[in-house]
């Protein structure tokens, strides 16, 4: 099963807890500022999310979604 992590940047405050929590190093901090001056987390291009939801669990702002990609 493939997974995808999505960051809801409107909630993200750039605390980096998700980056620290990810066992696979999937997340990194964006270089670009959001309109409230935050560098939000983002998935690294090409990195493979395993769907463990640890980043979702530790996120203080409920700014993360984990999606299961269904076979097509």
């Amino acid at each position: 099963m493939k997974h995808e992590v999505r960051v809801l940047t409107q909630y993200c405050k750039g605390c980096q807890l998700c980056v620290a929590a990810c066992p696979k190093g999937v997340l990194e901090m964006s270089e670009e500022l959001t309109d409230v001056g935050v560098r939000p987390a983002r998935p690294k291009p090409g990195a493979e999310c395993i769907g463990c939801t640890l980043c979702y669990q530790v996120c203080p702002d409920a700014a993360i979604e984990i999606w299961e990609l269904l076979d097509t």
């Binding site: 997974h3 999505r6 980096q16 996120c59 203080p60 299961e68």
Partner: protein, 251 residues
Amino acid sequence: MKPAEAKLKAGRPRLLLPDRTHYCAGCGHGVVHRIIAEVLQEWGIRGQAIGMAPVGCAVLMYQYLDIDACESPHGRTPEVAAGIKRARPDKLVFSYQGDGDLAAIGTNEIIHVANRGEPISVIFVNNAVYGMTGGQMAPTTVPGQKTTTTPKGRSVTAEGYPVRVCELLAALEKPAYLERCVIGSAKEIQRTKNAIKKSFRVQRDLGAFSLVEILSPCPTYWRVPPAKSVKYIETWMEQIFPPGVVKDVTK
């Protein structure tokens, strides 16, 4: 984005309203809010819940949770909650309190509400500092911890030792369940969620008082980056406030 090809495995609970919170980056309140929203949603009891917000950082809790809620004067939170519960005994009533609210200005209230065994759930967020007012000493500030009113660190000679609320309440007959949890690793956060569920069950099934103390990060006033706050709790707080079940009559 790909609704037909993907299924949401984990995401914001609906009861957590689509607001960007006022909390600082890395603050534990957001996690506790999300946990409460998840539990109420999983159990399908939005319509049964009435929450109490305290004075302090979490005063705006009612801004973020899609449930009936009430505000109280600083520290009186559990008594206002008890008043609601006495009037609506069939509802799930919880108070959400910080360390200043619960362990300083509201010490009298929490002790007597616990002593009467009022069947409410108290969610006690202990971050060892006053956040809303600018980082002053809390009753739970640990020895040596620098705050804006203990600039050289808390001195036990001058300011005494931190108040251990769970242990204090465990001396009373009526509290049914007291547990101390941590907003740290995902595993600890899951344990916190289970504790909140248990507290709600104790209220519903036993009609008894319970309290879940949550050691929670305040990176801003601990003056550490959010990613180091987990280590901070382990190093500084858990020595004084050991996590675990302090009292449980269901066992």
